[in-house]
């Protein structure tokens, strides 16, 4: 019990004093996962809308692939991104393995299908006749897409949260492609894994608390959205 109590006490001290190492790790984490989420939004929303609105052969297969992708195991992503970025790999000439950029790429691969899948569902959930109504109001195709995105803004916000929540708490891929280099590519999750294995529970708990807080805020926003979504 003492171990836990001492750990928590020291963890709070680290947090309250804005320990530079903890803060550095946190900021890097936010930066990396934020960038990955942003990129995945661009790809995921545009592709999701296109798949939702168009008819093409193999559409069902594409949708089931996207849905499978929503549960992509991070270690598998980590494995393939590593292979691609490996010095002799197809993209090895970039020389970005074991950099924050590599983590952003891996996390983008993880978050994109999540955003895409939720976008797809959100757009498909809108009444089909709404599209007709928008076109009947004289909208161009682009205007229609924009109005549909605005109509689905709440579930899309959920997509943002789910994507971000997925990558900020992911450890497998980050450690594989980032290498957990101190002060360079060490993020909240990889640092927690390492500090725990070293027995440095205080710092691990501090990092854990930050992760928990982040998770809490994400869920708070999600819950707000869902509550607002409830009709009448």
């Amino acid at each position: 019990m003492d171990l836990i109590f001492e750990g928590i006490k020291k963890a709070f001290w680290l947090l309250i004093t804005f320990d530079p190492e903890v803060m550095g790790i946190t900021l890097l984490s936010l930066g990396v996962s934020g960038s990955a989420t942003l990129i995945s939004l661009l790809i995921g929303i545009s592709t999701g809308v296109i798949v939702a609105l168009s008819e093409f052969p193999g559409r069902r297969i594409a949708i089931s692939l996207i849905n499978t992708g929503m549960g992509l195991p991070p270690v598998v992503v980590g494995l393939f991104v590593t292979i691609f970025l490996w010095r002799n790999g197809p993209l090895g000439f970039f020389g970005i393995l074991y950099t924050p950029t590599a983590i952003i790429i891996a996390q983008t691969v993880i978050a994109t299908p999540i955003v895409m899948g939720i976008t797809l569902a959100a757009i498909q959930q809108l009444p089909k006749k709404l599209r007709l109504q928008i076109l009947a109001l004289g909208a161009t195709r682009l205007q229609m897409v924009w109005i549909l995105i605005k109509e689905a803004r709440l579930p899309l916000l959920a997509a943002v949260m789910a994507g971000f929540g997925g990558v900020i708490s992911e450890v497998g891929a980050s450690i594989m492609v980032g290498g957990n280099i101190k002060g360079y590519s060490r993020v909240l999750t990889t640092a927690t894994v390492m500090e725990t294995s070293r027995g440095n529970f205080d710092i691990a708990i501090a990092l854990g608390i930050i992760l928990l807080l982040l998770a809490y805020f994400i869920n708070l926003i999600l819950t707000q959205i869902q509550q607002r979504e409830r009709p009448r």
């Binding site: 009444p127 006749k129 709404l130 007709l132 109504q133 076109l135 009947a136 109001l137 004289g138 909208a139 161009t140 205007q143 109005i147 605005k150 109509e151 803004r153 009709p231 009448r232």
Partner: protein
């Protein structure tokens, strides 16, 4: 809005088609869902499309605004053929469409009414003035800042109508917009719609499965079934001279008479119909034109001479013109100076020995008449 009696007929000087379709065919999955050799909508008229579900009313409306691409045929707008040289949204911007569901956007009432104008890139000042005008017209100004999600069915449909009118469309397309409303909301919203249409004289194509709605509002009625127009004409023509069996069974199940209110006493009033007087119950003004709908099962036939019968006030001698078997009962077509249809059982046919040419007395109660007040200037 003009009434059917005024010069909206083909060939009159007023005849100006705003919208025309020729040899139009729509196919879906190899099945023809719409097949219309020709249809012209005249500027300023209200054309109703009536027919059962699946008759092609919605398909026709959506084809008119090019939401559905016809597999064949031509669409003309103000004499100009619609072709691919100009983007289709430019054509659609001349129309406004109101669906059965309000299909409002997740924003305020104001934002909804403004949406068509925003799509057209109109500036904020003009949007504000147009939206305010429409909110006013439809009596929903007080809801302006409410979220569309919190509206009742009637309020939502009013918002949807306001959104359509804000565009100031050249043609208004209504796809059963009132069928999911409760009767009081429906009546009041129709009342307001009639008022607005009278003012704006917007050309309107109105799909409905409610014959009475169509009777009340239309200059012309097109009866549809199986993707085809079975008959098109003034309400009187379609109702009293159905072109074929389908139209007859869809619209002609009751006797529909056009008359004028000449007297009022208490809760009842007297309508003059081709020289005869019929008493009906309800509200109406003297001099007002009304339609009387009399269901055939409410018409009682007897062979005794008139004035000896029952509590019914409306008693008319007439001659049997036709007897048609309808299975359980027989449909008897009478001429009482006006046409009248009665249903009688086989039993009564035998008892009264009813046959073509026989003189009988027909009676029906004042309460058995459905009065439709025609909207006029």
């Amino acid at each position: 809005m003009q009434s059917a009696e005024f010069g909206m007929e083909r060939g009159s000087k007023d005849y100006k088609p705003i919208l025309g379709i020729v040899n139009l065919e729509v196919k879906r999955g190899g099945i023809t869902t719409l097949n219309i050799p020709s249809l012209f909508v005249q500027e300023g008229e209200l054309l109703s499309l009536i027919g059962p579900n699946g008759a092609g009313k919605t398909t026709l409306l959506q084809t008119l605004s090019y939401l559905i691409k016809p597999s064949q045929g031509k669409i003309y707008f103000k004499g100009e053929e619609l072709n691919s040289t100009r983007p289709v949204f430019e054509y659609r911007r001349k129309f406004a469409m109101v669906f059965q569901e309000p299909l409002l956007f997740d924003t305020t009432v104001f934002g909804n009414v403004a949406s068509g104008l925003k799509i057209r890139g109109m500036n904020g000042m003009e949007i504000r003035s147009r939206v305010t005008e429409q909110l006013d017209r439809l009596g929903i100004s007080h809801l302006s800042h409410r979220s569309a999600k919190t509206l009742s069915g009637g309020e939502a449909q009013r918002t949807s109508l306001a959104r359509a009118f804000a565009i100031q469309p050249e043609v208004l397309l209504l796809d059963e917009p009132f069928s999911s409303l409760d009767p009081p909301s429906r009546d009041s919203i129709i009342e307001d719609l009639v008022g607005i249409l009278r003012q704006t004289r917007t050309t309107t194509v109105f799909a409905t499965h409610d014959r009475l709605e169509a009777l009340r509002l239309s200059n012309r009625i097109a009866v549809m079934n199986d993707g085809r127009i079975q008959q098109i004409g003034s309400p009187g023509e379609v109702m009293n001279h159905p072109a074929n069996e389908f139209v007859a069974s869809f619209v002609g199940v009751e006797t529909i008479l056009t008359g004028k209110v000449i007297k009022k006493n208490g809760g009842t009033f007297i309508i003059s119909i081709s020289g005869q007087e019929i008493e009906a119950v309800g509200e109406a003004q003297i001099g007002e034109a009304v339609l009387l709908c009399i269901r055939p099962e409410n018409v009682i036939l007897s062979t005794r001479p008139s004035r000896e019968t029952t509590s019914a006030r409306n008693v008319f001698p007439g001659r049997i013109e036709k007897v048609i078997s309808l299975g359980l009962y027989q449909k008897v077509q009478l001429n009482c100076g006006f046409p009248l249809i009665a249903y009688v059982t086989h039993h009564s046919i035998e008892n009264l020995s009813l046959q073509v040419g026989k003189e009988v007395t027909a009676s029906f109660k004042a309460t058995a008449i459905h009065v439709v007040r025609r909207k006029q200037k």
